[in-house]
Symmetry: C2
Subunit: 403 residues, 2 copies
């Protein structure tokens, strides 16, 4: 599945380059004929370090990370006797536990199929990092949705500015980091908020501070990547931008179009229809059709979900299909938990009924959460890395060549 | 009650003048000491024509309305035998039918108490005219609410412009007129809409075309009032402006404050909390408190409801109290009628329940309709006439004196 994602990302990448201005240089296609060349340097590098994972003469170079590496002798007997971690992760795709002993059929193989498990083990050890940006006018329930998605209370006791302060307010960028551990898997979640977006009387340049921030993260990463010591290379590139569209409008607002047009080649935009509990099912359907039509008319490319691997199980494929059908996700968030039918749920209590946030018959919250956390978080990171960041890097190279 | 309204309107008027810049001229209070002087010329004129309601030598002046008046001889016998109109109006305040025969206690009176009934009869014959303006960002359900209020389908098949067209859209002013007859009472309803308000990227001057329109109506009326032939004097002054506040915001938006600050001395502003079915009862309460606080902080004077006459019946006083408690009215509109508990109602059908537009437990729609149509339509007209228009006229006089 990872290879498929990579291939589809590369295809998207090439498609994007065909669309961009600088793609007209003839030599790009020529240098990209060999599939192997598509893999970024960082991946080849990590494969090399896997091979070099022994104390050798490589440590001669003082800037090499190996010079600082401390080798620890582990007795194999100790390892076998050590208790299994109770917090070991279940594979989302139904794969076997990476620590399982060899099964019968594997005894006749060389064993490189287990490389996948090695990568998985390393990833679990290192933990994951994900940067999510939320953009939209104030009052569209951004904070409540984030709280509902990650079951945290990340935004409480926020000071709300009055209309006079907001009249000529500029867009600020704030960042919060939260470490979440679930079944032994660590996720460092960076949440980038954009208070003030669309609030001012004149919203003509609301998109600009956001674009500047996203580009700045690319720039920092680029500088870090070129530095001699990359051991502590920080990656704060924005992997996903949840863009909140008001359910009150008749489709997209001018500010929505302007923002997405300015940012869609820099960040994965995932549009959400905010506070969808004020729309009836037929209104939601009409609104979704209208939004997708207007995105198309304005040539805005939101995040493209990769094709689902046909080898995936039926349940996964069904989930993938439902996610794709739900775009833009009509969502409802809530900070209120209530006892309903014997279990505690996040809900909104109206005099005429209870909106259950996690009920797919009420809204697409579950599909959004599945997409964002369970099925496509890695795809969002890959697309940022292989497509959007590479696009930025190439633009930079072209600019440097031009000077 | 009419006298009480008038008195409270006059008090408001004086209060407003005290607040305005030009009130600092010392001579205003002096010329306004006699209560009788507060009555505008038009009222005195109509009282005169009541007295002059006989063919006399007054017709000598060719511009006098009497010169064109056709006298019709009515046989009193015919009048008594004529059938009662089946469409005769019920009095909203529970007064007796103006056409009823004299009751026992009236036989001992001179009879001028019946003047009230004469005015009422004339008003019914002439019909009523009311101009309502609706202002608010697109998508806040203005058209749907108007349809729900007057049980009409006034806005159908409207072309909705896309986000690109709306990007630099200016505010337009459109007007529709509809004649409604209910129990023999005719109401000519002028509906002024402001499409494009708040839709553009830069909404800094969204309020200006609306203010220009309101002032233009005052100007037309002022010219008409000074003309020799006032028989066909058209009154298109805006009597009420329903201002739609989004339920999504955290209180008022900058555009709301700017609009209301610019218009509150020119038109009766009645704020409504639009599409309130996306707020839970506690959220509605918090939002209302916040809006009222922000209106106060920004020194915005919305329409002030006159004190309820203590002689009114209990039901009326209760209704009046509920109306006053509901401000800003949290409303829900719907173009969909459904069969619910055996009767057809306007409602919104969600998967989690049915929002009944006319259910006071669901929203303040009924209170708004009662205020606008059943109890305070005449107050809104009176305040426009005696307070806002007089304010405009005095400003004009001061300007003319200055030149």
């Amino acid at each position: 599945m990872a290879t498929n994602n990579l291939r589809s990302a590369i295809e998207n990448f090439e498609e994007l380059f065909r669309r961009t201005l600088f793609v007209e240089q003839n030599d790009i296609n020529e240098t990209r004929q060999d599939d192997g060349e598509h893999f970024p340097d960082s991946i080849s590098m990590s494969a090399e370090s896997e091979v070099d994972d022994q104390p050798t003469a490589h440590t001669a170079c003082p800037t090499s990370p190996l010079s600082q590496h401390k080798w620890v002798q582990v007795d194999s007997q100790d390892f076998e006797n050590s208790p299994k971690s109770p917090a070991r992760p279940d594979s989302a795709c139904g794969n076997a536990d990476p620590y399982d002993y060899l099964v019968e059929e594997e005894k006749e193989c060389v064993g490189f199929a287990r490389l996948v498990k090695q990568v998985q083990r390393n990833a679990v050890r290192q933990g994951f990092e994900f940067t999510l940006m939320v953009v939209g006018e104030s009052g569209l329930g951004k904070s409540t949705l984030i709280n509902s998605l990650f079951l945290q209370d990340l935004y409480k006791d926020r000071p709300l500015s009055g209309p006079r302060e907001r009249m000529y307010q500029t867009v600020a960028i704030t960042k919060k980091t939260v470490d979440i551990v679930e079944k032994g898997v660590k996720l460092r979640l960076n949440l980038v908020d954009t208070p003030g977006f669309g609030d001012s009387m004149n919203s003509t340049n609301s998109w600009k501070p956001v674009l500047d921030y996203v580009e700045q993260q690319f720039k920092h990463y680029h500088i870090g990547e070129a530095s001699p010591n990359r051991k502590n290379l920080q990656d704060h590139r924005v992997h996903c931008c949840l863009y909140f569209i008001s359910s009150f409008g008749h489709g997209l607002k001018p500010i929505d179009v302007q923002f997405m047009k300015a940012l869609h080649r820099k960040v994965n935009i995932v549009p959400v229809l905010a506070k969808a509990d004020c729309l009836t099912p037929s209104e939601i359907q009409r609104m979704k059709v209208r939004i997708l039509k207007e995105l198309d008319e304005n040539d805005i490319k939101i995040f493209q979900f990769p094709e689902c691997d046909p080898n995936e199980d039926e349940l996964y494929r069904q989930q993938d299909l439902e996610i794709k059908k739900s775009i833009p996700f009509a969502v409802v968030g809530s900070n209120t938990t209530v006892e309903h039918n014997g279990k505690r749920i996040r809900a909104r209590l109206y005099p005429w009924g209870v909106v259950e946030v996690e009920n797919p018959a009420h809204c697409d919250f579950v599909h959004l959460r599945n997409m964002l956390v369970r099925t496509h978080m890695q795809d969002l990171k890959d697309t940022t890395d292989y497509l959007l960041y590479e696009n930025y890097r190439m633009q930079l190279m072209c600019q440097n060549q031009a000077h």
